[in-house]
Assembly symmetry: C2
Homo-oligomer: 227 residues x 2
């Protein structure tokens, strides 16, 4: 019985991968950088995104966001206050987003008018890792309040990410968070991964984070352009 | 395809429920109170458990613990330092524990010599909610670092729990955590649920938490005894 579930789940994953591939091409053709934010609940995905959207908009960029949630729409409302296009995706209790959900929620947006698409995944360090959403960049958040051991305990999600963002660094002292241990643990799981240390509250690290996004966008456009 | 997965998953859940029912009877007959701890990663399940096991042991009780994990055995080693029987359960990447895993890992323990069994579930606020592990008491942890909105965003797990433990209360000020809002959100999802406010670091609330466990054990024994 278990084997059968796994087989069928594999089919669904393959189907998801197919949809994700098509979605990625469509998003890249429109010139967007697509960023999938994954983390535990409560690491500050929404707070980081809120500040990111506001700053990008002030700098003349055109970002948009899709927010996966199980029940409430608090996050979407918080993000909509940034004045950028934001839509919520109700997963109906499912513990992750899938590529089809992303595709469905883009149907009435003019992608050519956007240049960044952020996807806030469901707060879950386990299940979202196997679902490609057509993103260019998977960013895993690690809050200082969670402890330095999380990369070792949830290696799949860290291993599948392109960038790690350490959040709430303003609380590091109160939480006795040892940043060097955290860095070593991230590097042990995903050698060479870029790590950006931030606080959405104080603004620490936001310039580095926005530069990281801009660099990735530039690199992506160069790659797509040269095809 | 999706429907078929759901149907098969339902069968597995029913199978799990069956095993959980048998397990519960076996554990209750042995006079144990079984506690299933569920929460996000990094809320301090291990820290709370460490302090709980040590105190119970000093008070003359005989607790034991099973720890679910995806990869590392750090938690089991931390808990074993309390000098009580501890075993780790490797879920092989699965995002939750199941009743059969609990049953398998109890086979060489003399249950009649124990009086509390704690199960530390995989850090995940979504998937573990539908898996009965044969516990008497499901306890959901909410760390002050996660924010007050988590009960509203993950209602299923809060709704299926018997007791809520707010952890890391020593960090409430630094995290600008509003405990009254958190209480109201928990009560909105699960009216009347007991809420215990703790800090495994300072020891705040530990007496109330241990009293809660003792009361539940007494109530359980009375119920089982009267059958």
């Amino acid at each position: 019985m278990e084997t059968r579930v796994l087989e069928i789940r594999k089919c669904i994953l393959n189907k998801n991968d197919e949809i994700a591939r098509g979605l990625r091409l469509r998003l890249q053709a429109a010139g967007l950088l697509t960023v999938n934010l994954v983390s535990s609940p409560g690491t500050g995905k929404t707070a980081l995104l809120q500040r990111t959207l506001r700053t990008l908009r002030e700098d003349g960029s055109s970002p948009a966001a899709l927010v996966g949630y199980l029940e409430t729409d608090n996050d979407a409302r918080r993000l909509a206050a940034s004045g950028v296009p934001v839509k919520q995706i109700n997963t109906n209790g499912r513990c992750h987003l899938e590529a089809q959900m992303i595709s469905d929620h883009l149907s009435d947006w003019d992608l050519s008018r956007l240049d960044y698409l952020f996807i806030e995944n469901v707060g879950n360090l386990v299940c979202p890792f196997s679902y490609d959403l057509g993103e260019d960049l998977r960013v895993v958040l690690l809050s200082v309040t969670e402890g330095e051991d999380k990369p070792l305990k949830y290696p799949n999600i860290f291993n599948s990410a392109d960038v790690a963002v350490i959040t709430k660094i303003d609380l590091a002292l109160a939480c006795e968070f040892d940043i060097e241990t955290a860095r070593a643990n991230i590097q042990a799981v995903r050698p060479g991964m870029q790590i950006v240390v931030t606080s959405a509250k104080t603004g620490a690290g936001m310039t580095e984070w926005l530069t990281c996004l801009a660099d990735q966008k530039l690199a992506r456009c160069a790659t797509v352009g040269s095809r």
